[in-house]
């Protein structure tokens, strides 16, 4: 990507992250239209998807008042976000995790509740924590039963085929 476009992507990503601190946000290419910049927002509860989408459309006028770029809203719901490993999730590279907070959450064993609100951060962060501090089998005990089924250490990402443990759990940092 040329530097000027990269700069615009970074700007979009930065503003969108400020607007959606509770979700994982990454600027993406719109695969069908190079004149648009995609804003991927991951882990959004289904009921919020439409509202988030519309906030992104409002953001466009704020960031590009002269219509320099269109923003495409790629809002992914919680279930989608849970299904893919970090290699297949572009936001994984953009994860910003407060490890102290994570440790606190883990120690309080509240991760099921926590996972529901921040699933990809939760899974990836748990993975990093697991690789550094804990046995993976212990970590999976913290996951909700629904998520545990999808993120079993023996399973592979349905897209890349990479085993979840080797992929997400090791390289989520």
């Amino acid at each position: 990507m040329e530097p000027e476009r990269q700069e615009v992507f970074s700007r979009v990503e930065c503003v969108a992250r400020e607007r959606f601190p509770e979700y994982t946000v990454v600027a993406e290419s719109d695969p069908s239209d190079s004149g648009s910049i995609g804003v991927g927002v991951y882990g959004v509860p289904l009921a919020e998807v439409s509202a988030v989408r519309n906030i992104i459309y409002d953001l466009e006028e704020e960031i590009f008042p002269r219509g320099e770029y269109c923003l495409s809203a790629f809002v992914r719901d919680v279930e989608y976000t849970r299904q893919y490993c970090s290699q297949c999730m572009p936001e994984a590279k953009a994860l910003s995790i407060d490890m102290d907070e994570l440790c606190l959450q883990l120690s309080q064993k509240e991760s099921s509740k926590w996972m529901d609100s921040t699933p990809i951060n939760g899974v990836a962060a748990l993975g990093r924590y697991a690789s550094e501090k804990m046995d993976v089998s212990i970590v999976t005990d913290f996951l909700s039963s629904d998520c545990r089924d999808k993120w079993s250490p023996n399973e592979s990402c349905p897209s890349s085929g990479v085993p979840v443990v080797e992929n997400n759990f090791d390289r989520a940092a």
Partner: protein, 118 residues
Amino acid sequence: MSYKKRSDEFWDAAELCNSNDLYAAAASRFYYGLFLAVCGFFVTKKGFDPNPSNVHSRLLTKLKEEEPDGKRDARVFREFKDIRVDADYAKAEVYKIDLTERSKADAVRQKYLKKMVG
């Protein structure tokens, strides 16, 4: 190509798909049904270049900037555009497009089909 004929055909196909639980196919055809109506109007009446390069964002910009209710119409247009990108390219699940959303999009579609021949 008749923009109207193809727009109507895509819209009908989308309705069929949507009512048969084929949501990704429906989303894709709903969008192109809408796209062809708006594009047809701008090509016919405003000399818009339908060259595929960045055509979606170029059309959106025209819609927002040149039509009296363009911003409102563009909001509907882009929502269907983005759902369609998911339907065609992403692994994301595409959900049934409900009657309210479809009605809004069809109203925009019909409006630009009318303006195209008016």
